[in-house]
Amino acid sequence: MHAVNTTSAAPALRSRLTWFTFASPANFYRLAGVLAPVCGLAAVAFALAGLWVGFFVAPTDAVQGEVYRIIFIHVPTAWMSMVLYVAMAFWAAMGWFLNARMAFIFARAIAPTGALFTVLGLWTGALWGRPTWGTWWVWDARLTSELILLFLYLGYMALVAAIDDTRRADKAGALLAIVGVVNVPVIYFSVVWWNTLHQGSSLTMGAKQHMASPMLVAMLLLTLACWAYAFAVVFLRARAIVLEREGDTAWARALVADNQGR
């Protein structure tokens, strides 16, 4: 098995670097193998720094007391849940229009992380709402639209998982993600309108006139941590999907043989 020459299996990197160099699964696999641990380490470093600033440096909030510190996790996760849905739809559209294999793989790799951040956003919101509002859940416009976002993620993942044929699963999932992203603003505004029809917005997030700078620093650090974590996990998941799909190719066989030889 060692007769297979691993360098000849992926020659593209030796040629010029172009926009499409890493659209090749073999090249992406090696790049992601380098980037995933870097992103993972960055996530840990940013998270530790952010949590330290958030819990030990940032002052206690004058109105909400210590409870407010949940926002250091809540706000970044809620941001990521929305950003990742748009990213997923973007890669789905790229896959749809350019017929690029890696784009479909990205869309699939992003979905579980996006759903995880949505759950975390809802969960930390509930933990914050209990002491602040006195209830775990209200049908507030923001909460409701975040819940619907979770349903959209679940629908995408369920559809993709239900179709055995990879190509059809990719394209059907892409179509659903694109239809979903077109609907997101409609859903958001209808929910906002639905809520404000019934009651005034009595439960908006405590208006932040001016945030103390350590609070802002903590939130930014944790946002960076969430980004880095998302990149690391998506790279790892995309690598796994690449290996699964490219199992028949020479470079993947060579890689496996190389690993077994070690």
């Binding site: 679940l154 369920a158 239900a162 979903g180 409609v186």
Partner: protein
């Protein structure tokens, strides 16, 4: 869009439904049964029932529409005629639109007609019944159009029924909000026309957007 294909598919679907009349009546039967479970579950208090009636009617219509979706393309897909149909130029769009139109005629229109009756059963005041009727008249075509996308995406899958519900219901939430909101607005002493206008806008958007999406999904499914 290929007009001849549209007319042919629409007429054929109506004829097939006419030959299996009992099957065609199942959605409206489900609608009536499901909605009459609510007084049994919530209790017969007329005050509560009056408040929840528009929402109950709308949610049951939504579920009835989604549950009647899986067979929309299934038989044509199974015997290969769907692939033949899609061969004609511009036929994808025509098939998608004709199937959604036929679904509304067969399953949606009976829901619209039965809705005021359910409203009466749930104690809805007489002045809200026409609004409920109008909101369903505008809203059920939206459900047929969105459901068509779901049916095409899940064509031939084992768990198509549950998947359609999971995929389409989040997309149908705006229709539910404005549809149920129209009757609730009358109850609150407001005009229902903003709700109905928004529902009409949603219908137009779905008329433009859903058939191409359905056609694309059909292409993927038979590829």
């Amino acid at each position: 869009m290929n007009g001849a294909v549209f007319v042919a598919v629409y007429q054929r679907d109506l004829r097939l439904a006419w030959r299996r009349r009992t099957e065609a009546l199942l959605p409206v039967a489900f609608f009536l049964v499901a909605a009459s479970l609510f007084p049994l579950g919530v209790g017969p208090d007329p005050q509560i029932l009056k408040v929840i009636a528009p929402g109950v009617v709308w949610v049951c219509a939504l579920l009835a529409a989604m549950l009647s979706m899986p067979p929309l393309f299934a038989a044509d897909h199974a015997d290969g005629s769907l692939e033949q149909l899609l061969l004609a130029p511009g036929a994808g769009l025509a098939v998608a639109a004709a199937k959604a139109a036929a679904h509304w005629t067969i399953s949606g229109a009976p829901l619209v007609v039965a809705a005021p009756l359910l409203g009466l059963l749930l104690g809805l005041p007489a002045e809200e019944l026409p609004v409920l009727f109008a909101s369903l008249l505008l809203g059920t075509p939206i459900l047929s159009l969105l459901g068509g996308v779901g049916a095409a995406l899940t064509l031939g899958l084992r768990s198509a029924g549950m998947l359609i519900v999971l995929i389409v219901l989040p997309l149908a939430i705006p229709a539910l909000i404005f549809g149920a909101g129209a009757a609730a607005a009358v109850d609150a002493g407001l005009s229902p026309s903003p709700h109905l206008s928004l529902l009409g806008a949603l219908l137009i958007a779905c008329l433009v957007g859903a058939p191409p999406a359905t056609a694309a999904a059909l292409r993927i499914a038979v590829e």
